[in-house]
Amino acid sequence: MNALDFDFAGERLTARGTGALWWAARRCLVVADLHLGKAERFARKGRAQLPPYEIADTLARLLGEIKELGPEIVVALGDSFDDDAARDALSAAERAELADLVGGRRWVWIAGNHDPGGSDPGGETVESCEETVESCELGRIVFRHIATPCGVGEVSGHYHPKLGLGLGGKRVSRRCFVTNGARLILPAFGTFTGGLDCTAPPIRAVMGDQARAILTGPHPCMVPVPRLARA
């Protein structure tokens, strides 16, 4: 799997092509917005019956990252479940799979706006080293769900940033990391998650005009976030 190293808040971080963030010095893996159970919530609300394979796919990709990197800490930046009811609707097999992932390492669930009730998936197999918090600090880096306008060394999720580039008539749109040096927003890791273009006002409001994006995909690369003239 390919990745791009960059400096943030005095630390060397790695933007993974998968959309996960790896902090090698702390052996810490960070993922944002898993939105587990989104398909179930859509069906429950009568909105759509999406292919019910999204939990399996998201967990399989997360497992791939964990296997490859062997993290000691995993931080999930909130909206790990699409809502609190979706968490309760996990099948027994999915619970067991999640418990396997969580087991044997420190696992921090940050509470998000979709899952304010915390993300404890329950079940007896889950080890006690997991916790649900509003925010979490490791050294100079603070993890939270939604970026604050003047946070420093802040890593968050929530916005599902993506960026489209025109490549000589061909349009490529990818999920991306966005950073302005003080704040870093991760792309959504969940399979059924849409994106918000990182030129959109909500992201611009926290990132300012000098932001850079790191596009995910087979070969992550860094680009300045275009400054579209927006009225």
């Binding site: 394979y53 850079r212 003239a229």
Partner: protein, 814 residues
Amino acid sequence: MTALPPPFADWFATRGWTVHPHQQEMLERAHEPATLMIAPTGGGKTLAGFLPTLIELAEGRHDGLHTLYVSPLKALAADIRRNLTTPVTEMGLPIRIEDRTGDSSATTRRRQRADPPHILLTTPESLALLISYEDAPRIFAGLQRIVVDEIHALAESKRGDQLMLALSRLQAMVPGLRRVGLSATVEDPAAIAAFLARHPDPCGILFADPGPDPDIAMLETDAAPPWAGGGGRYAVPAVLDQVARHRTTLIFHNTRAQAELFFHEVWLQNEGALPIGIHHGALSREQRTRVEAAMVAGQLRAIVCTGSLDLGIDWGDVDLVIQIGAPKNVKRLVQRIGRANHRYNAPSKALLVPANRFEVVECLAALEAVKARDLDGEPRGPGPRDVLCQHILIRAASGPFRADDLFAEVTSAGSYASLGRADFDACLDFVATGGYALRRYDQWQRLMQVDGLWRLRDPRGTQRIRQNIGTIMDTDLVKVRLKNRRGGMPLGEVEEGFAATLSPGDTFLIGGEIVRYENLREMVVEVTRRPEKPPRIATFMGTKFATSTQLSQRILEMFRQDDWPELPPATRDWLRLQRARSRLPQADRLLVESFPFGGRAFTCVYGFAGRNAMQTLGLLVTARMEAEGLDPLGFVATDYATLIWGLRALEDPAPLFSGPDLRAGFETWLAGNAVMKRTFKQVAVISGLIDRQTRGQRKSGRQAAFSADILYDTLRKYDPDHLLLEITRQEALRGLVDFGRIEEMLARVSGRIDHVRCDRPTPLAAPLFLEAGRVPVEGAGTERLLATEAQRLMDAAGLEIDPAEAGRRWRAPF
């Protein structure tokens, strides 16, 4: 013979009219369950369709809805209302006529449901909405006749399938309903008749006098057509000369972008200041209405247009039709020619303008086909199942139903007559449960079966169903408007993909004006007028039609001649030279040429399978070449040939065109193809898996919930046999991928391949070097492009790629 009742006979007499034979014939057949009338434009076709209705209603004894009229265009419904109102008023008949479309007000629509008029004029989508209401049986009680106008056009798309499913529902409510279809000239009237009638009812076909043969020829120009291109710009002076010599001219183009470019050129060369307008589907309604009004008022001498004027709104006094670019399809050409002279029994006058030298041959072939009255067309496939899924939802919205009843109903629609019960059940299961191998939603089913009746689990679901009715896809367009303080004038629409490639300062053409892209605001492209700048071309969505099989065959036939005295000298010499240097393509053989040029090895394949299939062939063959180490770099496809370039010369073409290998390669390639994803998105919306995105939702700028591409990838990975993937595959085969025509080509040449090696480009291959739309063969091409672009952007922004980037390392080789 059925005589006209007195008020009608008097009305005809005071106007000095006699009843046309086809109008009389329609009266005779008024009580048959289904009748198809084939008639050229003009000639009182609409009156023929409505005459039985007017007579039946004249005595004022009918209560409620009597006749439903359905047309593909809202504008046509309004037009017909005006045209019908004239005789009804003049004869003083007690008949209420109203139209009902997406443009009608909520008040009107509510009133129409409570108290329907005698004659309701509507569109397939509005009708589908009507039958989704619980009180549909009351609204349609007493319905006697349905008139489907321009049925040939509806039959070409899913809108027609949706309409026929709606008719099956109506017929179940009012079994005595009689159907009438009005059609332009088509190649297979029996197929349209089967499409119209309730299966297996018979459907009589009535032919109006087609009128005299059209006066049609190729436009003579001083300049010879260019070698390549499709704009016909060289012909502007000759076209302007023709416009000056006629009252009103329609100038048809095959694509919107070509219409824009041509109009721009006309505007530059229009020294006589002739009033000329432009009309195409991407222009704003305001713009189009203005042009239409000017046309009706006789203020315009010509309109540059596209297929948006193909359908028969009767306006103006058109006496000449000019077709720029080869017509690609003889039937459409004949229908377009019919637009000239909307007067019965006057010959239509038309001129063809080949856009390049090859099209000279194609135009000549088309002229001969028109003279021989030899029309073309693809047979209609079976009714699409995504439309059926939507129909099941519509049925559920109107109330509980039995599966057996609904199956019997839908199979009474001609295009679903061969639908198997298992296929129907699969659609029902999809609508009810999602149809996934992993049956996860038992608790949250959309439809539930209670006491043998299927019903919505949540009755509030009806609103979502109604909002998503329809099979037209227009969500990928963004509006363009002039930038000013008060909102600005709307100019039209461009593809979202095109808008995304624009940067502030870029110029493009829309509505014949050069505009400068300023910004994108709430999904509206804001522009300013910049007449002085040269434009970039707007890549409008306008469909690129492929040359029909039948027209391709005629061209190949012409190639067999010893000489071509009927062709202009430049084209004739060109074909002679090709025969001397290489050979001319033949119908039962596949010509493959190899030659070096500019340090590259070129291969030209003359498949004559139409643009879409030749494009697909290019993708498949280059994949094979890549596997064989021939290092292909790219290709370009036209309707007749694919030109491939690479690093190594082709030694033996035979293995590249083996049917089984091509088919196997096709399966693999198809899976990850962008065309498939686009097709899937449409199927997913029509079948009701995902919601149609309204402009309002996109405007709000909220993040999209998820993308259809992700659903496609997920299904492919975890549920490859899912119904929607099956439907998607079936659609792609027929549409843009058009593998069917590759199969047809393989069958026709059955292994007879002629490989000609030359030391330079051959005459027939030469124009391909000038074709736009080259396709690079990508291995890791996109990633390389992306890395290069990222570096360029960082440089341009004066930013450094992260220092560690200098020693950029990929963690894994690729």
